[in-house]
Symmetry: C2
């Protein structure tokens, strides 16, 4: 019997009232309160053993239900922290006073990820109430996702025996739309770098010195240009060596996903799309790697003219990588490329930019994927789209690396749900569907049983 929608809404509303912003040190107490809320909620759901695991940062809520000795184990992942709500003046109703309007529940965290966590727990509670599921369950709900999970990797390594699982069921997922599920088959990883070009030891008068020295901004522009051929392919030697080739089946599935280049370009406001030749827009974002300049600066950036040759120029880059690229190897290839192309008339330094994530993929024919596809088809009454997401969720690769467990996810969040923006919301119908997905997935053994 499905979770009761009224109870789910009441629980989530309580959860959403806690301003558990992981990036706001002054709200440490609220973070702790949210962790305790999750712990209490798990206990009420029938998870008898619940603990709050301390980390160097915010705590992780652990829980388990291990009544099937010898059977496989699924670990439910989610996060109870949220982004800051600013700018407050753009919210129609206050971010921490949840409000239902037109079938949507508005509050910071409604979609990302308190809605997912509340739905997962409610669904599993419904499953447990009806009968003991055929697999063991663990929960791992963290509190630092919105600040990049800085302590998650070390926690995972320390607690790897306690967290041992055969599959991760992530509650931090998305739907395709309110009416159609989405089966996540992969994410891009990435790495980042900062480049600093140093020329003269001070800004020079561009009249007196112009023409005699290499301008650091020009040198940087030339280096950045050298990273990609004009046609859109990346020009770093060896960059594509490890890129997994998509199968014809994968490409056919990606082609099935509704996508309209003209509407997409219009939505983001660009005059035309642009990318690697030979791939569709969807493929360029999902299965092809890229390098993006996130920021660049140097010299005079204020109003009016200032006729200088600047002493330094800077850029920040991130790579998005796909299986089987290794972020550390790509960073090393970048260093080699820059060293080879750096002109002698300036000093060029490369350093890591503090972002790193392994690419992640799960096979389309993985039993848990097929089980999830079946659940999604049943709950939405239409087959889910199967595809990837171009962003990175470092924890999924970490689970795979440390626990050897792949992940599938169910989510209550739709793409239009204003994650990280004012007026974040979740569809009430999506919450119920997500809860139902978790319920059915767990009851059926999550594809882990023969």
């Amino acid at each position: 019997m499905p979770a009761d929608p009224k109870t789910l809404l009441a629980d989530l509303t309580e959860f959403l009232r806690i301003p558990s912003q992981s990036g706001s040190p002054e709200l440490r107490g609220e973070i702790r309160r949210a962790a305790e809320w999750v712990a209490q909620r798990l206990r009420r759901a029938g998870i008898e053993h619940v603990e709050i695991l301390e980390t160097a940062g915010h705590p992780v809520v652990y829980g388990d239900w291990l009544h099937r000795p010898g059977a496989p184990t699924a670990l439910i992942y989610g996060h109870y922290d949220v982004q800051p709500p600013e700018p407050l003046e753009l919210w129609t109703s206050p971010p921490y006073e949840p409000q239902v309007r037109g079938g949507k529940l508005f509050a910071r965290g409604a979609s990302d990820d308190k809605g997912g966590v509340a739905a997962a727990i409610a669904g599993i509670e419904a499953c447990l109430k009806e009968s003991a599921p055929p697999i063991n369950l663990r929960f791992c709900i963290e509190g630092e996702e919105e600040i990049g999970s800085p302590n998650f990797g070390s926690m995972l390594a320390r607690e790897k025996r306690r967290l041992a699982a055969d599959l991760v069921l992530s509650a931090d997922g998305v739907e395709w739309s309110e009416r159609q599920g989405f089966l996540l088959l992969g994410l891009r990883g990435g790495c980042s770098a900062e480049i600093r070009v140093s020329g003269p030891d001070r800004d020079l008068h561009s009249g007196l010195y112009g023409g005699a020295v290499l301008n650091p901004l020009e040198a940087l522009a030339r280096l950045l240009t050298s990273l990609r051929h004009a046609d859109g392919r990346i020009a770093i030697e060896g960059f594509y060596d490890d890129v997994a080739t998509a199968t014809p089946e994968d490409r056919a599935e990606y082609a099935r996903v509704p996508h309209d280049d003209a509407a997409y370009a219009r939505d983001i406001g660009v005059p035309a799309l642009h990318g690697e030749p030979g791939y569709s827009t969807v493929e360029r974002c999902w299965i092809r790697p890229t390098v993006e300049i996130n920021g660049m600066w140097g010299g005079h950036t204020g109003p009016g003219p200032k006729t200088i040759i600047p002493a330094q120029a800077h850029a920040k880059l991130t790579f998005r990588l796909v299986p089987n690229q290794d972020p550390a190897r790509v960073y090393a290839l970048l260093e080699r490329h820059i060293a080879r192309h750096a002109p002698a008339a300036v000093k060029v330094e490369v350093k890591s930019g503090g972002f790193g994530a392994l690419p992640y993929a799960i096979a389309r024919d993985h039993p848990a994927v097929r089980a999830a596809a079946e659940v999604l088809r049943e709950v939405y009454q239409v087959a889910p789209y199967e595809g990837r997401v171009g962003g990175s969720v470092p924890v999924l690769a970490a689970f795979e690396q440390v626990l050897g467990a792949s992940a599938v996810d169910f989510g209550a969040a739709t793409m239009d749900a204003n994650f990280h923006s004012p007026n974040e919301f979740v569809y009430l119908s999506s919450l119920e569907r997500a809860a139902r997905c978790f319920e059915l997935m767990v009851r059926r053994g999550a594809g882990l049983l023969p």
Copy 2:
């Protein structure tokens, strides 16, 4: 008989006490006081007719001595305004309390350009005291040089009959060193532009969208790279069309100027010099045009990673141009180049950057140049170096355009005199030499008499 050094020092000290910062609106009264000081000083020097000419900005001090009807006229140019003195804490003595230390007079404006103005007036006073000079004299001392002389062109056009002259004697010049004169034969002109590249209408998540759109920073880097060939030559079509070819005599004279590439590179702190093939460093700065990126910015420029594709990217450029390049034509060539190279996937806009100056040159065999060379040789007891300066002094080209008068200059300023920086100074010996140069130049008719 030369000007009395004590009187010159006392006068200049009084002049330097006035904080006539043209860029500081709150000091308007001080600017006016400085203009009146110059007017009074001219009257005392024997210039009977003196007027303060109003402009839309700070006034111009005009004076004339026209006792040689039918004879040619020299117009003495200089400026009484100064740069702001900040940062104050780096001054050894306060900027507006002139102090002599070790043969140098320290104060804001000591070299640029109150020293030059005071020396010119003192030298001409000495000349007038001894006997009536063979040419007529006019003075035009402006108060907006340090803010780019925004009202000078229109004043010149309006007052062209009153300012009519056959030669400009500029008091805003430089020495080669305390012991050697410098004969200025040319300056670079220039023009400036801002480039804005617009991509998506908002910053995009570089994971979700990376690979599908052209990154505006990358597009800008590519456009900037396209402006110059890798070997240092500018790649804008038609850019070199109007560049005057240096004569073998000119090049031989530039080669005579003391210059050491290794010491020059060391002084500005670059690992190596870099410029257009086929020209020396001196020639690259004096007689060859360049384009310099003065500033560039876009996207995330703060600490840490922010994984975006920025909505916009910006750059500021200045060209330095040589005879016979026309700033307006070069700006149009840039526009055409950018239009041809701008990719369809972004919007690229070019606008003027607010800086424009015609290149300036005077022939080595111009009679006034030869007369000035003779004066410099006599005063310094060694022949001056003859050369150009890579910077721009827009008023000299304006005098030539409007009055048809070329310019020669004498200055008390040495290259090491901290113009625009803390602890600006002038050598006392340089002041006396500059005064003597003006005295002799005027007495001998400035090369204007047959």
